[in-house]
């Protein structure tokens, strides 16, 4: 019959072939592959200093009849290390949630048990379906002077471990980042960007528990951020943007009075409004006028370029594209 056997990494494991005598002739296999006789001590299989790779299905067959006498699934793992626990209130004053994980895997199944004590009262932390390893608690009372003590115990077949967090109601308040951050250029204003955002949807009561915001922005080409703190409102106009440069902008939120700042919001990019380049005909005519009087920038006169339209002051409508572009390019460099 088949069962599961859990062993610690580095342990010595001896497997018996069911009820067979020590001196019986048997063959062991692991995951269907024969194991050579050097690992055997009589009919016992001896695995010294097991490692994770030795996990698998071990089967023992009687020598001649090939009857399956014993089968076990060996799972090599470790007892749990101290778990990592975090508690946070992103929906103040409704309550808080705690989430946890193991710093290193154990490679075998673990169970988690969480307890929350408030003063002398035991509270129930309701487990969330998704994500796993998370539970939430509703506050029964607000503005409590008594701390909350959360203990997380993790247990598996090979051992157990735990960690405890003790905190005040106010200390764990941290909203989610602001949502729907939008940055837009302002028409006819080459140094402005209009940024707007919304309160995080998880914050239940912004009327009674208002949030304040922190905006940071920088042009992509620079490393230094500029910061603005805003005590109310969900929009702000940046007035000192570098003209024509693409900006990256983020916003964070915090309860007006308690707790810590949220993580930064998703970054948005925006470039301030820039003037449209003028129509090319006008440009070329003006630059042809100027370049006619300065000899250095004359386009090399070749018959294949313009035969008409490049005459100064002629007001010619037909502009030769090639000459026009070349001259325009030179003149743009020197504006």
């Amino acid at each position: 019959d088949s069962h599961i056997q859990y062993e610690r990494v580095g342990a010595d494991v001896t497997m018996k072939c069911g009820s067979m005598d020590w001196d019986a002739a048997v063959t062991w296999t692991v995951n269907g592959t024969d194991i050579n006789d050097s690992r055997l001590n009589g009919s016992y299989l001896v695995l010294k200093n097991v490692d994770l790779l030795q996990s698998g299905q071990y089967s023992c067959y009687e020598g001649s009849s090939w009857h399956l006498k014993y089968q076990t699934y060996l799972r090599v793992g470790t007892p749990p290390k101290e778990p990592v626990l975090m508690c946070r209130s992103n929906n103040y004053p409704k309550g808080f949630y705690c989430s946890w994980h193991l710093p290193t895997p154990t490679y075998i199944p673990n169970t988690f048990n969480i307890s929350v004590i408030h003063g002398t009262k035991d509270m129930v932390c309701e487990k969330d379906a998704v994500p796993k390893n998370r539970c939430h608690i509703r506050y029964l009372q607000l503005f409590s002077t008594v701390k909350y003590k959360v203990t997380l115990t993790v247990t598996n077949v090979l051992g157990k471990n735990f960690t405890t967090l003790t905190f005040d109601e106010f200390a764990i308040v941290k909203p989610d980042p602001p949502e729907s951050v939008v940055a837009k250029p302002v028409p006819n204003n080459p140094r402005r960007l209009e940024v707007s955002w919304q309160n995080p949807s998880s914050w239940p009561d912004p009327e009674s528990f208002p949030l304040k915001f922190f905006l940071r922005y920088r042009p992509l080409i620079l490393d230094q951020w500029q910061h603005v703190e805003l005590s109310d409102g969900t929009s702000h106009t940046i007035t000192d943007a570098y003209a024509g440069k693409e900006y990256i902008i983020q916003v964070a939120a915090k309860d007006n009075d308690i707790g810590t700042w949220s993580d930064w919001s998703v970054a948005v990019h925006a470039t301030p409004w820039t003037e449209e380049p003028k129509h090319l005909t006008t440009e070329a005519q003006i630059t042809e006028t100027t370049s006619a009087s300065t000899s250095s920038f004359m386009a090399p006169p070749t018959t294949k370029i313009c035969d008409k339209g490049a005459v100064v002051g002629s007001g010619a409508v037909a502009v030769c594209w090639t000459a026009g572009l070349v001259v325009a390019a030179y003149s743009v460099l020197f504006i």
Binding site: L142, F143, S144, T145, S208
Partner: protein
């Protein structure tokens, strides 16, 4: 010295008079602005308290100055007014009830703090406590001003100055220190709560309404 005498007098006045006369300055400003000022004052006090509490708890010594110190609440400490309240109840408080709760709490906390001041050992602590008490005094007056300008009666003070916590067990030094610890904790929690109370009041008291009320009363 002299300042202590003045404070004692003020405490007695606060504790014994049924109501403060309405303050002219807050009527002129309008309740909206007074609420903002009261809110600002609670934030200032909260900031001041952080330094004061740190110094005082160090003075009390371990375990009171340890960050994880989390003692059970003893029944005797209930005399200090608690900010803790049921969420729905807190939400449903009328403006009058909300302001009155704050007024009563800080009046009593102020009296307790003054008793502390009398007993404290070091000059530095006495100085800090005196400064804090003066600011807390200002907060109580500010709340009173808001209530008056909104036409609410001021809550009656305690019949007699409240018995200082720890008086029955003066012989037990540790219990006395526990009382001090809880007093500071409640004060801190009240200041956090007040910020939220005044946020709510800010939204609910538009200046226009207040002007009407003042006019109706012939001010």
């Amino acid at each position: 010295g002299d300042s202590w005498g003045i404070f004692t007098f003020l405490c007695a006045a606060l504790c014994n008079l049924p109501a403060l006369p309405a303050l002219n300055c807050s009527e002129e400003l309008g309740a909206g602005q007074s609420i903002q000022q009261t809110y600002d004052l609670t934030r200032y006090l909260e900031h001041q308290l952080r330094t004061l509490a740190g110094t005082y708890l160090n003075y009390l010594g371990p375990p009171f100055n340890e960050p994880d110190f989390n003692p059970p609440r003893l029944a005797r400490a209930e005399r200090v007014p608690s900010a803790t309240v049921d969420l729905d109840l807190w939400r449903g408080l009328t403006d009058n009830a909300r302001l009155a709760a704050n007024y009563r709490a800080y009046s009593r906390l102020l009296c307790y703090l003054r008793v502390l001041d009398r007993q404290v050992g070091t000059a530095e602590l006495r100085h800090r406590l005196a400064h804090f008490c003066a600011s807390l005094q200002g907060l109580v007056l500010s709340i009173g001003g808001v209530m008056s300008s909104l036409g609410y009666p001021l809550p009656a003070g305690p019949a007699a100055p409240p018995a200082p916590p720890g008086a029955p067990a003066a012989s037990n030094d540790f219990l006395k220190k526990m009382d001090d610890f809880w007093l500071l904790k409640e004060l801190q929690t009240w200041l956090w709560r007040s910020a939220k109370d005044f946020n709510r009041l800010k939204k609910k008291v538009p200046p226009a309404v207040v002007t009407l009320r003042l006019e109706a009363r012939g001010f």
